[in-house]
Symmetry: D2
Subunit: 96 residues, 4 copies
């Protein structure tokens, strides 16, 4: 299967002051999986096999509710092509 890009924005319905710590937990978890990822101000973009990335998205839901969020709204974007899609082909020229 080709690599693809999956971005994830997590919006847990918790007190304002708990939002960033919970998002940090999500990013720590993504980092722990070993997939390539890039953190942005509104979402984290991952690169890899679609099935693996969707499995991470699924586990993040349980991570958030276990951490105290009654409810979680997520926005997931998928960029998929049979030839593969990489973060570098999109970001190369915008990196310093």
């Amino acid at each position: 299967m080709p690599v693809c890009n999956v971005s994830l924005q997590v919006i847990p319905l918790v007190d304002q002051k708990e939002v960033y710590p919970l998002v940090d937990q999500v990013i720590d978890y993504i980092a722990s999986t070993g997939v390539k990822y890039s953190v942005g101000p509104m979402e984290t973009t991952m690169e890899g096999d679609l099935e693996e990335l969707l499995s991470i998205v699924k586990k993040v839901q349980a991570l958030c509710t276990t951490a105290g969020a009654d409810r979680v709204l997520s926005v997931v974007k998928i960029d998929y092509s049979t030839r593969g899609v990489t973060i570098d082909e999109k970001m190369g020229k915008y990196k310093i």
Copy 2:
């Protein structure tokens, strides 16, 4: 596992005139899975088990490329809660 809501907007990079027929194929596929769903002008919302719904999202990617799209951009929204989330609790009052 509680039921949740997952909405899917599929944007295949194909000729304008092929967009709606391809989106129709996606909706036909969702209907064929037997999950509860609601078609809207920008996305289709499904209700069920998160793992099953994400599996449908995954299969839709291959469906689109098999149908001729070189590339597919998707927007997926997840509404997840330990107590469950239903389409009816959100839409009840807005139906005739």
Copy 3:
């Protein structure tokens, strides 16, 4: 200017029990503007002039903070074409 479609999902960071009442206020406001709209389980889609619809999106932010949300996350989708885009061309076959 051609008509276009703009969908809006509003996620106010408030207590769970206050989310639906606040979303209802947003939909009431959209209804009060007179634009054509369609309520879905995850977003409300509006049809009209892009500038007018983005002005509604802007006013909804202040509506939410005035109603008590410290913070609001919104997801807005725009479907824009020089030939115009209508809700009916997309939904016609899926209505009963």
Copy 4:
């Protein structure tokens, strides 16, 4: 008015090979406006006054159709708070 964050993903329905050049045009335009922005693999996030940022989102639609796209799908996320929202408060710890 407080500063807020608005992210923009533009998906023009053009030939695959024309997508990146058109997205580059959009980013060039955003850069030319003078607002603070951060380019990511799936979206560009801007920081500033909500009205100004939505005006940029609006102009991007015309830019894409003028550049040859018959149709443009966009995903816009807004992060709004009366106390203001900045890219730095979210990205600080993730920068090298």
